[in-house]
């Protein structure tokens, strides 16, 4: 039986681990190589790294990181933030990454998804989508460039076209909930799950293990990602799984 996954998300600025609130006000929360070792030891299923440097974002920063992390973590590693070309993706995949997370570039030119998928397989591409709920229209709006640029495309259309081009997984993030620790946006996650024919990873808002339970029991997502929950406080994937297992949710056996 395929298991549910718990994925710590690690946000990076100049290769320091940071945590944001609603995509702003970041704080430094440590060294990503050290934290990755700890996540590996505490039974995380996968790790996602996102470079959120706004002004100066290069693939070299991620390359330096992945070389170090892949020497100490024998688990799936996904990287994103500033990936623009097939060559960017290729360099990361050759140096220890298993999947590439594409966000802003997928709005400019969707072929970036198919280029990576054709060369490395659809499983190597995660399309990440940042959304905010428009309070007046009650529609979810999509944003690129670390939440700064509004995109003129509907959530449904973007999810479906990304999958058509070869996205192997969809990573959905709520800007409204980011860093608030008030719970996931379940309506948003349900919508994406309905539109998506590939596995969905949901992110944004986890403040306690109960929040994770709510999403797993109410939607069909394959994986939940979280930052603050594991960055702050004495929480780790082992404790999360111990809690969630009480609700009949399956996790990997080691």
């Amino acid at each position: 039986m395929l298991k549910k996954r718990i994925i710590p998300v690690q946000l990076l600025i100049n290769n320091r681990l940071v945590k944001t609130i609603k995509f702003g006000n970041y704080r430094d929360v440590g060294n990503p190589v050290t934290s990755s070792k700890i996540y590996s030891a505490s039974d995380a299923d996968e790790l996602i790294f996102l470079n959120i440097n706004r002004d100066y974002r290069t693939v070299e920063q991620l390359l330096t990181l992945i070389e170090k992390v892949s020497e100490v973590c024998f688990m799936p590693l996904s990287l994103g933030g500033g990936i623009k070309t097939l060559k960017d993706a290729e360099q990361l995949l050759k140096n220890g990454a298993d999947k590439i997370v594409v966000n802003s570039a997928s709005y400019r030119d969707r072929t970036i998804i198919s280029q990576i998928a054709d060369r490395f397989g659809t499983q190597a591409v995660i399309v990440s989508i940042d959304t905010k709920l428009n309070e007046s229209t009650k529609e979810y709006q999509l944003y690129s460039n670390c939440g700064r640029q509004l995109e003129d495309i509907s959530l449904e259309q973007h999810v479906k076209e990304s999958i058509e081009k070869g996205a192997g997984e969809i990573f959905i993030n709520s800007i409204d909930r980011d860093g608030t620790m008030t719970g996931y946006d379940i309506d948003l996650i349900k919508k994406v799950f309905e539109y998506s024919s590939v596995p969905v990873i949901a992110c944004g808002g986890a403040g306690n293990f109960g929040h994770m339970k709510d999403v797993f029991l109410q939607t069909g997502v394959s994986a939940l990602a979280c930052g603050s929950l594991f960055n702050f406080g004495d929480n780790n994937p082992i404790r999360a799984k111990a809690f969630l297992s009480n609700y009949g949710l399956p996790f990997k056996v080691i």
């Binding site: 395929l2 298993d98 659809t122 499983q123 990997k252 056996v253 080691i254």
Partner: protein
């Protein structure tokens, strides 16, 4: 002993290299056929498509040295796409001839609404037979999978492990000194590393 990892220019060699290196074994990347003479264990890793792997296999003239290596009874491990290449042929990207080391072929996983393709994530390994490479690894552990195609054996005797995803598929195959894993041991944390360590300690005799 020396572990050789075959370079088919198909993605993530580095993780496989790092895993063996961390386990303390001597390991090198095989880029040239001359290197086959001094390795004791051969690993064929791979992420990508069958037809592209076959293209590199032929382009680098690797077919004959791999065959000779296997015929000498030395331990050979195929991982994911590397396991697929042990077959007679694969259907990914048109029909392509494989290495023919284990009887069978490679075809696409059946897609059903509750089981999206690719099959990605942690799933249970059910050992069917005992094997020295499984020594000390518990029955029913999870390993990390990421694939859209699977191996169909032409004889049950090659099937040493299976996994369920919608329906049962073959996740471990063994033919004499050749073993293949559909999952990624180099991405399966402590259990995966244990399997790789056992492979290094295996002399190729079942």
């Amino acid at each position: 002993m020396l572990v050789g990892i075959l370079d088919l220019e198909m993605g993530n060699l580095r993780s496989v290299f790092n895993a063996f290196y961390t386990l303390g074994y001597e390991v090198e990347i095989i880029k040239d056929i001359a290197q086959f003479d001094h390795i004791s264990h051969l690993v064929i890793p791979g992420v990508g498509s069958y037809h592209k792997a076959v293209y590199h296999l032929d382009g680098k003239n690797f077919r004959s040295p791999i065959r000779k290596f296997a015929e000498r009874g030395k331990p050979l491990l195929g991982i994911c796409l590397g396991m697929h290449l042990l077959s007679e042929y694969g259907e990914e990207g048109g029909r392509n001839q494989g290495l023919g080391l284990i009887g069978g072929y490679v075809t696409k996983l059946a897609s059903t609404p509750n089981f999206p393709i690719p099959h990605v994530g942690w799933n249970t390994i059910k050992f069917r037979e005992h094997h020295p490479v499984f020594e000390g690894v518990k029955y029913g552990i999870d390993c990390y999978f990421v694939h859209s195609y699977h191996f169909v054996c032409d004889n049950q005797k090659y099937i040493y492990g299976t996994t369920d995803y919608g329906k049962e598929f073959v996740s471990i195959i063994v033919g004499k000194n050749v073993i293949g894993f559909q999952f990624h041991p180099e991405k399966s944390q402590s259990n995966g590393l244990k399997l790789l360590e056992n492979f290094c300690n295996w002399d190729g005799v079942c």
